[in-house]
Amino acid sequence: MRISSSASRSLLLAGAFIGVLSYGAAAQTASPPAAAPAAAPALPPGSPLIGRPDNEAAQKLAPVAAPPIAAAPDKLPMDKLKVPAGFHLEVYAAGMPNARSLALGDKGTVFVGSRTVDKVYAIINKDGKREVKVIASGLYRPNGVAFKNGTLYIAELSKISKIDNIEDHLDNPPKPTVIYDNLPKDEAHGWKFIAIGPDNKLYIPVGQPGNNVLHDKDHGQIRRINLDGSGAEVVALGVRNSVGFDWNPQTKQLYFTDNGRDWLSEDVPNDELNRVTKVGEDFGAPYCYQGNIPDPEFGWGHSCSEFTPPVALMGPHAASLGMRFYTGKMFPASFKDQIIVARHGSWNRTHKFGGDVVVVHLNKDGTVKNIEPIVTGFLQDNKYVGRPVDVMQLKDGSMLISDDWNGAVYRLSYGKSKVAAQ
């Protein structure tokens, strides 16, 4: 009974998603897979091997680590990265090992977080030249950065800190001051993307502490705090590992990407693009994935209908991370208020998927029309030559794209204004 009801629901959703996945045939599979074999005993909850089937193909897969050294500017894969006609991609800055999340200062400074090193970088525009500086170090997995009213906010694995008036102190920045540390310390999905919403609150994801695990009330969510660290409140539940979000400039609704679980199968579940329509909404993990696949282990006793389904499926194991609404005027009019998403690319798949930047086109009601690639080529012959992490719009309407594989930031522009000011 269960299976037939979820199957009909999946058909229904598959219908709703027609056109969403206009490429990557494998990604279109929406039917529930056969139950995965029971996990071996003794695996700790954080283990990435939970749920791994015991076969040779699965044994060949392991999380991919970026090289520790930033690529030299002349070694960046610019000849391999492809953009549509009229667009132009250039190196904006290089030499930042493990460059991850991006934030923009009022005076044009670009702040860049990192995950496998201990640094936050600043790309400084000075006298018509760009220069990279380390503005904070000795931090623990400082993946997240956000900027508001002169203050830089930094998210480490388990704390949020800030540096006031950062752009006035780029040569000799003070140490960050902690504003909030009531956060779990798990390594698994512990690194954080952060952003400040239209409500002037700082949004913080707290991932589930493992691939596919039950957990306490402090995990698997996005919460928000006031900018002084007070007033913590949970905004979304059933969030496995979100590493990117932004607010619809029209509706002010929060949209977030969420990474689907590993080891269920090669082709499902897809990553999710979700929309929060009310505070406290539950998006299903670990009970239900991609809106229509009950988890073979934790789905028992639940139905996917208990949870809010995603507005788009972003591809299997694609690692859909940073995303921003495009509000600029440089790109063609069809980009206005659409979502640009960085897909870091899979490890848990024999034929890797993702490694690109896509634009998600929305309908007027905020649901998803379709998805189109915009920067491709990070994946060559099933190997990464780069991995996009975050996207961020500059004031001129061009988009920056960070690449943690090469420790670089690229600038995507359109039309005549091809080259950023040096």
Binding site: L49, R52, A62, P68, I69, A70, E187
Partner: protein
């Protein structure tokens, strides 16, 4: 241990001075490594890893982490502090070309080997690290690594005093007991 550290620091300082001199081959520069890590890929020094046939991408990550003090061990932090990115890559490639460490002459107690094998399978060590523990890419070779070093390292991952590059090993070791770690270290060091 403190005495060893001092000696090693002295070696490190000596090697730094000489590394400044141009035109030294990587083999000449690596002589300083052999004092502790052994000349033929096999360490004879307590708590000091054998480097032979180590995966180059893994070795590069570790050398980078020593230079950046993301992994702290004073002699190695000193040894690498003036290394360029290119130096790190050269040393990583160099150790990957050394002969792999040999298993100990004793074949290991069958009951302990059996216990270790079962634990390695239950924890899927043989997945990322390969069935023969030869490792791949950023995942290190473990086969015939020194037992004391394996024991120490797995415990450090478990209590997160050794921060991995990406945190995977902290997650994996969280619920593995000290006794189980000892059994794994015995098995992997005696692996044939």
């Amino acid at each position: 241990m403190r005495a060893i550290t001092k000696i090693m620091a002295a070696v490190a300082v000596g090697s730094l001075a000489s590394s400044v001199q141009a035109a030294e081959t990587i083999e000449q520069r690596a002589a300083a490594c052999f004092g502790c890590h052994g000349e033929h890929g096999q360490s004879e020094t307590a708590y000091t890893p054998s480097l032979g046939a180590q995966q180059s991408p893994y070795a590069l990550i570790q050398l980078f982490m020593f230079r950046e003090k993301l992994r702290t061990f004073e002699p190695m932090n000193d040894m690498t502090k003036s290394f360029t990115d290119d130096d790190l890559q050269k040393f990583a490639d160099f150790v990957s070309r050394l002969p792999k460490p040999q298993p100990p002459t004793d074949v290991g107690d069958p009951a302990r080997m059996q216990k270790g094998l079962a634990l390695a399978q239950a924890n899927h060590c043989n997945s990322c690290h390969n069935a023969d523990f030869s490792g791949k890419e950023n995942v290190p070779r473990l086969a015939n690594q020194r037992e004391d070093y394996l024991n120490k390292t797995l415990n450090e991952y478990k209590d997160n005093t050794r921060h991995g590059y990406d945190g995977t090993m902290a997650d994996v070791m969280g619920s593995v007991s000290k006794e189980q770690i000892a059994a794994l270290a015995y098995y992997i060091s005696h692996y044939r």
